[in-house]
């Protein structure tokens, strides 16, 4: 049985924030879930995927082709009355946002939780956007945990909240709350939960034509007003300490603040508001918090969302006290916060010296060689890059070639000795940007995309390239799995857990490329150098669109699957293998 299905109420397990979210969803009666993986959210989907394979579980989970699809799948299941959850990384929310904005109008029936994991400091991402702006734009409530226990409790509460408001609820995590382990107390797993829904037709409720959406927008604003009320009484908002300086913090920032207050014994100098129900801000609680304060410091990751909301609240209350934070320079807007930054800010606000431990003099240390991540030994991508490089060089084109790339293990082709990555924006951007380069320059354009990314968002741009006559070569690196995030299945999957392929037919990338109307197609095995070179030269020499499909499985996954049944308890096996799961951006 999967570890997260352990039925032992009262027992503590040391869970990752993401695992705690899964456990919370199970205890809340989750019926349907769908996701596209992305660090730091991936373990949510990975665990639900394994749980769904477990015969004792009645949860439906799928890895969808992208975040938008996953949100549509779960939204409809919620409309049919079931409890659902979808998870994504912050940039996944960009893809799903088209759904989100109107889903907020349409609402849901069964509770729906949207987990969105932000990545301050861009540990594994292409930007550090703050997903709370989406919640503001959509007028949806947001909960933000500070610990795995809270992650579980909030997930459960989010389902109730969602049903009370008939709105999806966003659970926002950041890298440091998603990837932290802590003791989590297990509760009950419900026995008789609803697993089959029924959709009550009501076109004037569920079909977002203008007439309906107009009325639904009003409903949304009314519900959002109700959310204000619920935020007032949320047990996740707590006020402690006393003094004339206030500190408001959310998420992992609240952990940093709590440690500083404890270490410097500041509880009689600081009134500390920990917000867990972070959007909308509870007005009355904020009023009580601000009353009698001389100044407030707001500590939050990324954008000054709480800070600005607090300024609005203060203005409405006619208060002019200084509100310190990002704008005042106490807290940086760039990158993730650290205990040191927060300690400094608190000391600065209170005009205290901040004590520092006796630091060593490290000036003598030489410059230390960097250790960037690299492609696995024997990775097929290395071979494919080698073939393309040599073929271009034979054709005398290497120097004038632009290499738009995409998101996956192969993005590491940026680094020496490969150095074949020149332009990247987001998932799927290789193909669209190739079109732009080919029409605007006389340079040769050769781009790279992986199988999972191709399914995620490459297909529309390939259709576009054919229809509009763009001239470039596209290399599809088909390794048969979503390697970088930990080998999740995708529609082109070749290496499958036992029994998986009967229920999940494989979609042929070659057939799709042909159906898009591409005329020049070569399929190569990058390990067979001679034939691969010949085919690559032919395709790369074309002055029109050509596609090379490099067909070779991910070596790491292949090794792992050899002689292995797919049953596994999540964490121990994963780590015993040597921290080898590698995540994509």
């Amino acid at each position: 049985m999967h570890e997260l299905l352990t039925h032992d109420p009262g027992r503590f397990m040391l869970l990752l924030g993401n695992e705690a979210i899964v456990r919370g969803a199970i205890e809340a009666g989750l019926a349907v879930s769908a996701a596209y993986p992305g660090t730091p959210s991936s373990e949510i989907g990975n665990n639900l995927f394994q749980i769904a394979q477990d015969p004792s579980s009645d949860i439906s989970f799928e890895f969808s082709t992208n975040e938008k699809v996953a949100m549509e799948v779960t939204a409809a299941a919620s409309a049919a009355g079931l409890r659902t959850l979808t998870s994504m990384k912050h940039v996944g929310m960009n893809v799903a946002s088209d759904v989100l904005m109107t889903l907020a109008y349409m609402g849901i029936k069964g509770g729906m939780v949207i987990v969105c994991a932000d990545d301050p400091s861009l540990h594994s991402s292409q930007n550090e956007q703050d997903s709370r702006y989406y919640a503001r734009m959509a007028s949806l409530p947001v909960l933000e945990p500070t610990s795995p226990q809270e992650a579980k409790d909030m997930t459960m509460e989010a389902f109730d909240l969602s049903e009370a408001l008939e709105l999806p609820v966003i659970l926002r995590t950041t890298t440091r709350t998603a990837h932290v382990r802590g003791p989590v107390k297990l509760g009950n797993i419900p026995k008789n939960k609803k697993t089959r829904g029924h959709f009550e037709k009501a076109p004037m409720r569920w079909v977002a034509v203008p007439a309906v959406a107009r009325t639904r927008h009003k409903v949304l604003l009314d519900q959002f007003e109700k959310a204000h009320g619920l935020a007032e009484t949320s047990r996740f908002n707590t006020l402690s300490g006393s003094g004339r300086t206030g500190i408001l913090a959310t998420g992992v920032s609240a952990c940093y603040v709590a440690d500083v207050l404890e270490e410097l014994h500041l509880f009689d100098r600081v009134r500390f508001l920990r917000l867990g129900f972070v959007h909308p801000q509870p007005r009355n609680l904020i009023r009580d918090f601000l009353a009698g304060l001389d100044q407030v410091l707001v500590v939050e990751e990324l954008e000054p969302c709480q800070e600005n909301a607090l300024k609005v609240a203060a203005q409405e209350m006619g208060l002019t006290l200084p509100i310190l934070g990002k704008a005042s320079g106490h807290i940086p807007r760039l990158y993730e916060l650290t205990p040191k930054i927060v300690k400094k800010a608190v000391c600065h606000a209170l005009s205290l010296d901040h004590p520092s431990p006796p630091l060593p003099d490290l000036a003598a240390l030489p410059p230390l060689p960097q250790r960037p991540p690299s492609l696995c030994k024997g990775c097929p991508h290395t071979e494919t890059y080698g073939v393309v490089k040599e073929a271009l060089s034979d054709l005398g084109l290497l120097e004038k070639t632009i290499f738009p790339t995409d998101i996956g293990c192969y993005t590491l082709g940026l680094l020496p000795p490969i150095q074949m990555a020149d332009y990247l924006l987001c998932m799927g951007s290789s193909i669209g940007s190739s079109a732009g380069f080919s029409l605007s320059t006389d340079q040769k354009v050769v781009s790279f995309i992986g199988d999972s990314t191709f399914f995620h968002s490459g297909i529309p741009s390939l259709v576009n390239a054919v229809h509009n006559g763009h001239r470039f070569s596209l290399v599809i690196l088909d390794n048969g799995t979503t390697a970088m995030t930990g080998h999740q299945p995708n529609p082109g999957i070749r290496l499958t857990p036992p029994g998986y392929s009967e229920r999940h037919p494989r979609i042929s990338i070659e057939a799709i490329v042909r159906a898009c109307g591409v005329r020049n197609i070569a399929i190569i095995n990058p390990y067979k150098k001679k034939e691969a070179m010949e085919a690559a030269r032919e395709m790369l020499a074309k002055d029109e669109l050509s596609v090379i499909i490099s067909d070779a499985p991910c070596i790491l996954y292949l090794k792992r699957m050899e002689g292995k049944t797919q049953k596994r308890t999540p964490a121990t096996e994963q780590t015993q293998a040597g921290d080898e799961g590698r995540d994509r951006t």
């Binding site: 952990c255 440690d259 404890e262 991540p373 921290d579």
Partner: protein, 195 residues
């Protein structure tokens, strides 16, 4: 209860996360408030993997510069890189067997001479326990157990609020059955390295 910040650092594939997790599980079983933070993602294979174990009620998952009470380095270059998280009072345990990054193998950078910098550490920090943990792991039966060897040494410092038996128990219950014996052997060999 004394608050304690322990930093683990190593290279992807060395089992850093397993070591910190085992310590976290042992602490939880002993009723000690604990938080373990892990690095997942891009860095995980071949890159630097850091994790932390915070004991005694610390809420922050990461460690500020100068604030580690204990540093466990799985690889000497990574130990050097992590020294900024240490104060001169930090107790440092480090493996001395290098894993050169590809920037070194490609000749783009130079791997610092280990004996020299071990000596530097010895004269800069109060306690440094440095030895070839890979050799010890090999003696125990598998070089994959460097992580548990070092965990043994960490336990032997006597600074953890945990007895060796508590960690042995965690190894028995958390490690795959067929790997329990080799890991216990590794742990015990690590224990005697602190002397």
């Amino acid at each position: 209860m004394k608050r304690m910040r322990i930093l683990f650092t190593g290279v992807g594939g060395q089992g850093t996360l397993l070591a910190s997790r085992l310590l976290g599980e042992a602490a939880m079983s002993a009723g000690i408030p604990v938080r373990v933070s892990e690095v997942h993602g891009m860095a995980q294979r071949g890159g630097v993997v850091e994790s932390t174990v915070m004991l005694g009620g610390i809420e922050s998952p990461i460690i500020a510069e100068g604030e580690a009470d204990l540093l466990v380095g799985f690889e000497p270059l990574e130990t050097l890189r992590a020294l900024r998280f240490c104060s001169t009072d930090t107790v440092i345990i480090t493996n001395t067997a290098p894993i050169p990054p590809f920037t070194v193998t490609l000749g783009q950078a130079e791997y610092p001479p280990i004996p020299r910098w071990m000596e530097f550490m010895g004269s800069t920090f109060r306690t440094v326990i440095a030895y070839d943990a890979e050799a010890v792991a090999r003696e125990a039966g598998s070089t994959k157990t460097v992580n548990v060897v070092l965990l043994g040494t960490l336990c032997a410092t006597g600074l953890l609020p945990l007895r060796p038996e508590a960690l042995r128990e965690t190894i028995r219950s958390r490690v795959k059955p067929k790997l329990v014996d080799v890991n216990l052997a590794a742990f015990d060999r690590g224990l005697v390295q602190a002397q």
